[in-house]
Subunit: 254 residues, 2 copies
């Protein structure tokens, strides 16, 4: 970032600012002052004008691009469209007559919502909201695995659930995750981890559904090795480069 010595017209300067904003999505007034060799007061006036004109968003300390993702949508589920894609792919794993264990999380709930209407299968779940969603389906059987409820995530945990899971031999288990990297699936809550372990143990095959943003993240508690799961379902196409390091024998990426 070298200061630009030649005297600039206001128009040019503002054009330069916009270029920086579009390039970096953000800019500090102080940096601009240095780059353009004008006082910060001038920069601030420029930014205010550009903000007035709706070209950018002025914030304390600088400005942000209008396209910057600072406007969160609170009421709607985060990354819903991605989750819908994932849910549709995961739904293909379920066949008539199967016994399926479902975990918690919004992605799994979305899956429960998108089950084919003529599906005939038996579902076990530990999530209140997933269970409610499953109750809307006309032909499936739903069994809730009771236990102590975790308030934040609205799933049941504890010895009760785990001993019940130990009695089950399901065909498939589908769960979300907090974090996944090339080595293992990790999570933040000890109780939830224990239940997830039991879910995997209780199923012939296990699927992990997750938005691709979580690929490469790690949390403190390990659920299982990546090799312990059979299907990885994300919003990416199966041949996406992001799966480098995830591919291995016995793991199907959907």
């Amino acid at each position: 970032m070298h200061p630009i010595q030649t005297q600039m017209l206001k128009r040019e300067r503002q054009a330069f600012i916009m270029k920086q904003i579009n390039l970096h999505n953000r800019i500090l007034s102080a940096d601009l002052g240095l780059m353009l060799n004008v006082s910060e007061d001038t920069i601030r006036r420029d930014l205010n004008e550009l903000a007035e004109a709706g070209e950018l968003v002025k914030v304390h300390g600088g400005a942000l691009s209008k396209s910057y993702h600072y406007d969160y949508a609170p009421s709607t589920t985060y990354a819903l469209s991605e989750k819908t894609v994932i849910a549709q792919k995961a739904a293909t794993l379920i066949e008539d007559g199967m016994f399926v264990i479902l975990g918690g999380g919004t992605t799994v709930r979305e899956l429960a919502r998108l089950l084919p209407v003529d599906l005939k299968a038996t579902f076990f779940t530990i999530s209140l909201t997933t269970a409610l969603q499953l109750c809307d389906h006309p032909t499936i059987d739903v069994i809730f695995l009771g236990g102590t409820l975790v308030k934040n995530s609205q799933i049941s945990v504890g010895g009760e659930v785990i001993s019940r899971l130990n009695e089950i031999k399901a065909d498939l288990c589908i769960m979300g995750t907090n974090a996944i990297d090339t080595e293992c699936i990790t999570d933040t809550d000890l109780e939830a981890v224990q239940v997830k372990k039991a879910m995997i143990k209780a199923s012939k095959r296990s699927a992990v559904v997750t938005i691709s943003e979580k690929l490469g993240s790690t949390q403190k508690l390990q659920v299982c090795e990546l090799s312990d799961i059979d299907y990885l379902v994300t919003d990416l196409p199966a041949d996406a480069p992001q799966f480098l390091g995830y591919r291995r024998e016995g793991l199907v990426i959907l």
Copy 2:
């Protein structure tokens, strides 16, 4: 976990926090402080602002995603004002330290919604929606009695629930009913009736909550005799003439 960045704008920092929240559903202030290289005080201020704006839920130690919060839709409940009155009366039966079994139905759910915020008690329930409502309470413990779910009433039934109930000795059981007359409590669904019987057996005392409209009605399956219950809670004042024939030794009408 994340690289340290130079001079981040507040808005950027908050956007980062929201992304973490949406990604992992929960986040610790300490971790955020480390990731963003700012003091925990700053993080806490950010979290409070975001909570103020309704973007997340602030909790001790960090924050939670808002997407896990039961949004109660009161407008759809029939005779809500009556049920609110009933719920408030029934709530007086519950004291700190109690073990309470709650059944299904909108009146009981309304009760769950109106529990005093500082109540410390343990609740067992068979209803998904009641359980979700209970999850919003800060200090109570909630245990879901799992089983086969009945789709339209969203409660769990079956041998599973009943054998679990047989292991419980609660202080109080609160249930709604389909019909009540001067002789007995009756209902329409065999499975639900069996669970209710087990609930009563598992509790020292039992309360029936119902809107006064149902007084004098009868269904095909008997849950119990009127003498088997200890409290009858309706929207009427305790001395209302409608209770003629209901009054007896050991039955408190609220």
